[in-house]
């Protein structure tokens, strides 16, 4: 920092006044002319020091300053000697600096380094670090101060820069820390989830295990060699061995009686990977030796890790009991059906008898007429022929009535055939006409033309319609009414190519409370009814793939409808 042309003696240093008081001499080496080596050394150090050095009297006047200081503040030496330390110090440092002088320098002779700024000649501020000593005379009285002043602009800049970097770093660190914390939280969350799901999986596994073990359906897994790998309790029960006893044993060794039927099926499932489901199996297991039982089995391939079929799972349901109940139920239904048929016939017998009496009466009249003509000798061959033809025709009619009466009793199985809905209804009308005449009920036909043919058992459907009309009749007779009692037998086309045959009456209607159970067995409103009529009707109708429905007419009265699929849609229809 020192300028080379100034040499070791500052040229302008001695020139400005005021003159250095004599007290300063020992420090300043008084008398520049003297050239003791110590003094020269000091002088050299003083001038070449990189740090500014200044000597200040007690009033703060700058007595001496070195080149570095001069460079630092930008004033010339002579200018400086007219200035004071406080004069080139911004006001804001004055108090603090006074305190340092007062509390440190004057007390113990020096101070700890401290920082402040100087106001340069060009008006800019320069940050400095200061060390101050107290200068005393030989008697120990304070003379002034030495100050060593270091320009810390660069340090400050570096410090600021460092600070910036530090802050930046801190930000980065904080940021990263936050990221880390978030990551940690996320990890913890995931870990918790994982733990939970593991627990859940475990629980589910245990549940499944429990279900597997205790399912009311037989379950087992067989490997490719048909060895039992897993067996649940139900299957063990079906087989008649403990579940553990199965494990590792081959199917054919455990259940030799079923092997012949099932082993080929198992092989097929294992070889082709195609499941076999709903297979009906009959046979014997050691559980009940000598008793043939029935199961429904489904066999599914199980793929191993390599994707190939490695095992097979079997689902086996015992159906022996269900089959037994089903067949009993069928027998029972059949029996009930017979009972109902017979009772319907009983109800019909009266009108049948009436109907039979009609042709008998005609036959009687004709035969008597013929006899009379013969007795009187007036009989012509033409007359007799005509009479005999009438008799024969009425006889046929009587036979037809008897056949019709007997037919429902004889018939058991469904004998479906093509039927015209209107003909079916007209037949019912004929059968019931006398009955409705007796009961004074108006039986009306309301037939739609051009209905499709249906496919079904004539006798069964007749049975259903007879039953429905008789129900309607009983409903009508059960109440007093001012209006004329009437039953309408109606045919009409319905949705999906179906035909509806409806029985409508103008009676009291079906009680609201009865709708839900109307078609259930043993539900009846009749004092002596079995409650089987509608239930059997429904069974019969459903056997045809038909439906039976009941409703009340808005005008009062009940409406029972039989919906029959057209011939083409009938489930009874078998392609010839």
């Amino acid at each position: 920092m020192s300028s080379p042309h100034e040499g070791c003696v500052p040229p302008d240093l001695p020139s400005p006044s005021p003159p250095v008081p004599t007290r300063w001499s020992p420090w300043l080496g008084c008398g520049r002319s003297s050239s003791c080596p110590a003094k020269e050394k000091f002088q050299s150090f003083f001038e070449t020091s990189r740090d500014g050095i200044a000597l200040v009297d007690l009033e703060g006047r700058i007595v001496e300053a070195n080149r570095a200081f001069v460079d630092l503040v930008g004033y010339t030496r002579s200018e400086l000697q007219r200035l004071t330390f406080p004069g080139i110090t911004p006001e804001r440092w004055h108090l603090a600096e006074d305190a340092v002088i007062r509390e440190q320098v004057l007390v113990r002779g020096y101070c700890d380094p401290y920082e402040k700024e100087y106001l340069r000649k060009d008006g800019t501020l320069v940050p400095v670090s200061l060390l101050v000593w107290l200068l005393k005379d030989l008697e120990g009285h304070p003379l002034g101060f030495w100050g060593i002043i270091r320009d810390i602009t660069e340090a400050k800049r570096l410090e600021t820069e460092l600070q910036t970097h530090r802050e930046r770093l801190e930000d980065l660190v904080a940021e990263r820390l936050a990221d880390l914390q978030a990551e940690i939280l996320e990890r913890r969350r995931v870990e918790t989830l994982l733990r939970e799901s593991e627990a859940r999986v475990l629980r589910q596994h245990q549940e499944l295990e429990g279900i597997y073990r205790q399912a009311p359906i037989g379950l087992c897994i067989l490997d490719r060699e048909l060895r039992f790998q897993r067996v649940n309790e139900r299957l063990a029960d079906i087989d008649g061995f403990a579940a553990e006893a199965h494990l590792g044993c081959r199917f054919q060794d455990v259940l030799p009686d079923l092997a012949e039927i099932l082993v080929p099926v198992f092989r097929e499932v294992l070889d082709t990977g195609t499941p076999v489901t709903g297979m009906e199996v009959r046979g014997i297991t050691p559980r009940q030796p000598g008793v043939e039982r029935e199961w429904r089995g489904s066999f599914y391939p199980v793929a191993g890790e390599d994707g190939r079929v490695s095992a097979m799972t079997c689902v086996v349901e015992e159906v022996t009991e269900r089959r037994r109940i089903q067949s009993e139920l069928e027998q029972l239904r059949e029996a009930l059906y017979r009972v109902s048929r017979v009772s319907t016939l009983g109800e019909l017998a009266a009108s049948m008898a009436h109907e039979l009496n009609q042709p008998l009466t005609a036959i009687q009249a004709n035969a008597r007429a013929a006899l009379r003509l013969i007795q009187d000798g007036r009989a012509s061959m033409e007359d007799l022929q005509e009479i005999l033809e009438d008799i024969a025709s009425d006889d046929l009619r009587a036979g037809e009535i008897i056949r019709r009466m007997r037919e429902p009793v004889k018939r058991e199985a469904l004998v479906p055939g093509r039927l015209l809905p209107n003909e079916l209804v007209q037949e019912i009308h004929r059968l019931l006409r006398n009955d409705t005449l007796r009961t004074r009920i108006h039986l009306v036909l309301d037939l739609e033309e051009g209905l499709p043919t249906v496919y079904g058992d004539r006798i069964h459907l007749q049975q259903v319609l007879l039953n429905l009309v008789m129900n309607a009749q009983e409903a009508l007779l059960s109440v007093a009414t001012a209006s004329r009692r009437s039953i309408v037998l109606r045919t009409r086309s319905a949705r999906d190519r179906r035909v509806a045959i409806e029985v409508l009456d103008n009676g009291p209607g079906i009680p609201e409370s009865l709708f839900e159970t109307l078609f259930d067995p043993f539900i009846t409103t009749k004092p002596h009814g079995l409650g089987l009529g509608l239930s059997i009707c429904r069974t019969l109708v459903e056997a045809h793939g038909d439906t039976l429905s009941a409703s009340n007419e808005p005008t009062g009265g009940a409406r029972i409808a039989v919906l029959l699929p057209s011939e083409a849609d009938s489930p009874l229809q078998r392609p010839a």
């Binding site: 009609q358 009249a365 008597r368 009187d376």
Partner: protein
């Protein structure tokens, strides 16, 4: 035996029965008309001679009992023999109470049928006789004066001439004259005959009322 001729109306909805019965009854000498239902019968005109109705109890539309009551309202004196294919006792009782002459179950015996029909036709003849007598009487009664009717009424009530004279506020002698005129107009009947005549036709009704 040759039955007395008569007209049998047969109402039965069964065509075979109509045919057979028509044949049988004609063989037996009856005149026969058949109808499939009550309405057809009601539309047919009355015949002049004795007639009866052979009526099936169950008919479409108006049934046997309904037709019977319809005829009673019309005060038509047509004896009815019911036919039924079904032994329905309550209905039979109802029919008989309403004046049916007989009730035959189908199929019937020929003899029973003929007996019932003859009884019905006899009844018809009797009714016709009564009706013509009644018509004759009412014509005769119409020739009586109001005073003669009053006097006859007293006579039939068993009152003496004197009492009748007192009742009517006229002289006994005048009563005798009215009585003589009235009886002469009626053909001088004995008292019992007069009583029977009075039961057949109501002479109290003045002409024109």
């Amino acid at each position: 035996m040759s039955p007395m001729p008569g007209l049998v109306h047969l109402v039965d909805d069964d065509p075979s029965i109509r045919r057979g019965m028509d044949r049988l009854l004609k063989v037996h000498g009856y005149e026969v008309r058949t109808y499939p239902d009550a309405a057809a019968f009601l539309e047919a005109p009355d015949g002049p001679g004795p007639a009866c109705l052979l009526l099936d109890l169950r008919l479409p539309g108006l049934d046997g009992l309904g037709l019977q009551s319809r005829l009673a309202v019309r005060s038509q004196d047509l004896p009815i023999v019911f036919l039924t294919a079904h032994g329905d006792v309550p209905t039979a009782v109802q029919a008989m109470k309403a004046g049916a002459l007989d009730f035959l179950p189908k199929p019937f015996e020929e003899a029973s049928l003929l007996r019932a029909l003859d009884a019905a036709l006899d009844r018809s003849r009797l009714l016709q006789l009564e009706r013509s007598e009644r018509e004759h009487l009412s014509r005769t009664f119409q020739t009586l004066t109001p005073r003669e009717r009053e006097v006859l009424q007293g006579v039939l009530a068993g009152r003496l001439n004197k009492q009748i004279a007192f009742d009517l506020g006229i002289a006994e002698k005048t009563v005798k004259i009215h009585r003589g005129h009235a009886l002469r107009k009626l053909g001088n009947p004995s008292l019992p005959t007069l009583a029977r005549m009075a039961s057949l036709g109501d002479f109290r009704v003045p002409p024109g009322e």
